[in-house]
């Protein structure tokens, strides 16, 4: 058996026991925003609370030991999932915080250097000069755009971006990286277009000018095998909640020597080495970046999600999504008045399929789909510049995951036709 057994998978997800709107079957096509959670993840989290709950890294009693063990074992499981070492994984509240952690490292190193305050060895890589360049792409999620705009506003660095081709790909020739380019931050897979970017090509260009590379892996780690030792990037950031894990946890992976060179971001308890009223020194990564009591139960839940995905096999997950994406693209191509925004063929693309329906606003499309039990997302999907680039005010987006099947794709296609009919557009 080489394919996913969707019926069996669905049985693990309690939410599919409920119906939506007038007793319709739930067709959940919004995993790009957040995934549903299997029993196994909820059980793992609950077991932590019911049997091992304590503040981790803070106590010597048995519960504290058990909680700490569970937390660090979770870190190791998650690290293994992306081919990394445990100490190079930092837990954050979501991917957004992880990306901000990197951008604030530049800010904090720059400010401390300017005042000759102590900095970790190697922190020069994070010190910006007025006019230094930060490169993003035009297809970034706001989480990988706004933090860099903010960094530029506060340091005098300049934001530049890689443009997009008409068919939804990076136009790598649209800008040159220069010796002023200090960091390139891009998404692995666009959450709006579905495009999977050619990371190797960007890394090669960045290495040529000695720039660091940050990868927003929110839409890749949940959906395909990802191995940091092969990617060649310096940081990757992603969220737990999009990969079957709990809300409230995200991850940053960074090259060990870079994490060690970064000043802290959020400061407080558990990230220190010594504290005097006058000044403090800081622990080594990952603790340096995990101030305060951490989300240990969520880490344990996320590790259970990793176990769940590993048991399915990430290759199979990717193949399954690929097939559904292909089906969906074909189905949408068959509806008059529907235009896909992003690659129209299932080549180097993931399962985020955005489209517009002529004569209908996405909000209205989404509403009619919802009435049929089909949950899609409508709007700019936190990637407003992409909408502008393709001259649409918003899109309707379907995203597929392990619990979706052919019937879900068919429901989407029929649903769009029903929307056209309702509003009297289309054929």
């Amino acid at each position: 058996m080489t394919e996913l057994d969707v019926a069996r998978i669905r049985a693990d997800f309690p939410i599919f026991n409920r119906t939506v709107r007038n007793d319709r079957r739930l067709v959940y096509l919004d995993s790009g925003a957040t995934s549903q959670k299997p029993r196994q993840v909820l059980d793992a989290e609950r077991d932590f609370y019911e049997n091992h709950n304590a503040a981790v890294h803070r106590g010597a009693h048995q519960l504290a030991e058990e909680a700490t063990d569970a937390f660090e074992a979770a870190r190791a499981t998650i690290a293994r999932f992306i081919g990394a070492q445990p100490d190079d994984i930092v837990f954050t509240k979501n991917a957004t915080e992880a990306l901000n952690l990197v951008s604030y490292s530049f800010l904090n190193a720059t400010l401390k250097a300017a005042r000759s305050k102590p900095l970790p060895i190697g922190a020069e890589r994070f010190v910006l000069q007025e006019g230094d360049e930060i490169v993003v792409t035009e297809m970034e999620h706001h989480a990988n755009l706004v933090p860099w705009q903010e960094l530029c506003d506060k340091t005098g660095a300049v934001l530049r971006w890689i443009g997009l081709t008409d068919d939804g790909r990076l136009d790598l020739d649209s800008i040159e990286f220069t010796h002023r380019t200090k960091v390139v931050s891009l998404t692995h897979q666009s959450n709006l277009l579905g495009t999977v970017n050619d990371v190797a090509a960007v890394v090669a260009k960045a290495r040529a000018v000695d720039a660091l590379v940050v990868l927003d892996a929110c839409q890749s780690v949940p959906h395909m095998p990802v191995d940091v030792s092969e990617l060649g990037v310096d940081f990757i950031a992603w969220s737990g909640h999009k990969m079957l894990g709990p809300l409230g946890i995200g991850c940053l992976w960074g090259r060990s020597e870079l994490l060690s060179a970064m000043p802290p971001f959020i400061t407080g308890g558990s990230m220190i080495e010594t504290v005097h009223m006058e000044s403090s020194t800081f622990a080594a990564p990952p603790k340096r970046f995990e101030a305060g009591v951490p989300m240990a139960a969520q880490a344990v839940g996320l590790a259970a999600a990793v176990d769940y995905l590993n048991a399915l096999g990430m290759d199979k997950v990717a193949a399954h999504e690929h097939r559904l994406t292909q089906l969906a693209l074909e189905g949408l191509a068959g509806i008059k008045g529907v235009r896909v925004i992003g690659p129209t063929e299932a080549i180097e693309r993931g399962s985020a399929v955005s489209f517009v329906v002529e004569g209908l606003h996405p909000h209205d499309v989404g509403q009619i789909l919802d009435e049929q039990g089909i949950a899609v997302r409508v709007g700019h999907h936190c990637a407003w510049p992409v909408c502008r680039r393709y001259n649409v005010p918003a899109t309707t987006r379907a995203t597929f995951y392990i619990y979706n099947d052919d019937a879900d794709v068919a429901a989407l296609v029929e649903g769009i036709k029903a929307a056209q009919k309702f509003f009297g557009v289309g054929e």
Partner: protein, 145 residues
């Protein structure tokens, strides 16, 4: 479908044939409001008339609900006083929060928007133009709340 409650004929009609869309050159105050979740946008201008009422003009893009709502707003609030307009805004908010029964005298076709209250995520669409009017009218008249 149950949706007919929200998408009443009269709403779809305003959506397809909006009243008063297009900006006038004269204005005392202009505001630009957006719904950051979905990108709906409206530019709305207000100018006091000689008789103390307020003329309104607008341009917008968005879903059927936000477009129809703006068209209805034009019918109801073009050339009314700040006080009349404000109380209409208060009423439509209350209606969409199910705190008041629809009052046709105040809202005209706007009472057809009552179906939107069933869909909390759409309430913002229906209110976008009304909040913009309030904002612009306050700026144009200097009246506070």
């Amino acid at each position: 479908m149950n949706l007919e409650n929200m998408y009443q004929e009269i709403i779809l009609d305003h959506y397809k044939h909006p009243h008063g869309k297009g900006l006038s050159e004269n204005f005392a105050a202009e505001v630009h409001h957006v719904n950051p979740t979905c990108g709906d946008e409206i530019t709305l201008r207000v100018t006091p008339n000689e008789d103390g009422t307020l003329a309104v003009s607008y341009d917008n893009q968005g879903c059927s609900i936000s477009q129809a709502s703006a068209s209805i707003l034009f019918d109801q609030l073009n050339n009314v006083t700040f006080e009349t307009g404000s109380s209409a805004v208060d009423h439509i908010i209350a209606m969409l929060q199910r705190a008041e029964e629809p009052n046709e005298e105040v809202l005209g076709d706007g009472i057809a928007l009552v179906g939107v209250a069933q869909y909390p995520a759409r309430v913002k669409c229906a209110l976008l133009s009304w909040m913009a009017w309030k904002d612009a009218a306050i700026q144009a008249t200097g009246k506070g709340e």
